[in-house]
C-alpha cells in the first residue's frame, strides 16, 4: 500500500534472485481516461491482500510474489496496481497472477472515485471473473 509510484523493472528484478525461478508474470493496471481518487480501508487492505496471496500460494507453485496498490490522487496513465508472481514455470506464474488480480478486484477494500463523475460502480464482470476461480479445482500435480 503506497501513495508513491512504483518501478516495474525494479520490482521484477527483485523477484529474479532465486535460481529456482524460471518464470515471472506481471500485471500493471493504470488509470484509464479520467483522473481519480482511490480510497482504501487501512489495515483491512493489507489483510485482504495477504489472504489473497496465501490462497494463490496454496493453489499454485509460487516462489515469490509482489503486490503493490496505490491510493490517493491519481491522473490518467498513472500506474495503480502491480502484481508480479515468480514461479518455476510460466503456467503457475500466469495463473496465480490473474487469480490475484481477479480476487483483488472483488475482495480488497479499494474504492475509485472519478474526477467529476463520482464513485465507480462495481462491475458484474469482475464478480464473474473472480467466480470462475471458485469453480476451478486446484490443479492436480504429479509427484516428482
Amino acid at each position: 500500500m503506497q501513495r508513491e509510484d512504483f518501478d516495474l523493472s525494479k520490482e521484477v528484478d527483485a523477484l529474479r534472485r532465486d535460481p529456482k525461478v524460471g518464470a515471472i508474470a506481471s500485471f500493471v493496471g493504470q488509470v484509464r481516461e479520467v483522473g481519480m481518487t482511490l480510497e482504501h480501508y487501512p489495515g483491512m487492505t493489507e489483510k485482504a491482500l495477504a489472504g489473497i496471496v496465501e490462497e494463490a500460494k496454496a493453489r499454485w507453485q509460487v516462489k515469490d510474489c509482489t503486490v503493490i496498490h496505490r491510493y490517493g490522487e491519481l491522473a490518467p496513465t498513472d500506474q495503480i496496481v502491480l502484481v508480479a508472481v515468480a514461479s518455476a514455470h510460466r503456467g503457475d506464474a500466469f495463473a496465480a497472477c490473474e487469480f490475484i488480480m481477479d480476487y483483488l478486484k472483488t475482495q480488497a477494500p479499494f474504492w475509485k472515485k472519478e474526477a467529476g463523475k463520482g464513485w465507480v460502480e462495481a462491475k458484474a464482470s469482475d464478480d464473474a471473473a473472480a467466480e470462475r476461480w471458485a469453480q476451478d479445482k486446484k490443479p492436480e500435480r504429479k509427484a516428482g
Binding site: 493496471g29 482511490l38 480510497e39 482504501h40 480501508y41 489495515g43 483491512m44 489483510k47 485482504a48 496498490h69 495503480i80 496496481v81 488480480m101 483483488l104 478486484k105 472483488t106 475482495q107 480488497a108 477494500p109 479499494f110 474504492w111 475509485k112 472515485k113 463520482g118 464513485w119 465507480v120 460502480e121 462495481a122 462491475k123 469482475d126
Partner: protein, 85 residues
C-alpha cells in the same frame, strides 16, 4: 455491548460520518442486525443502508456475511462493493 462502526467511500459520504462507537441493544449480534439497528436512525441512514442497496460488510477487517456474528469490541464496517485494481 459496544462496537465500533466504520464507513467507507459512498456510504461514508452519504452518512456524513466515518466512524463511531455505538452501544448495541441486547439481541443485536449479527452484521444484518447491526445494519438494521443503524437503519432505524432514519433519514440518510435508512436510505444508505436500505436492504435494496448493495452494501458490503466486514467484521474485524474480514469480509463478513449478513449472518456473521458481532461481539463486544468488534469493528464492523459497511461500504459499497469494492472497485480497486
Amino acid at each position: 455491548m459496544k462496537v465500533t462502526v466504520r464507513f467507507f467511500a459512498s456510504v461514508k459520504e452519504s452518512l456524513g460520518t466515518e466512524a463511531e462507537v455505538i452501544e448495541l441493544p441486547a439481541g443485536v449480534s449479527t452484521v444484518a442486525a447491526v445494519r438494521a439497528h443503524l437503519r432505524a436512525r432514519g433519514g440518510a441512514w435508512s436510505e444508505t443502508l436500505a436492504e435494496t442497496r448493495r452494501v458490503t460488510a466486514a467484521v474485524n477487517q474480514d469480509m463478513a456475511k449478513p449472518s456473521a456474528a458481532v461481539k463486544a469490541g468488534d469493528e464492523v464496517a459497511f461500504f459499497p462493493p469494492v472497485t480497486g485494481g
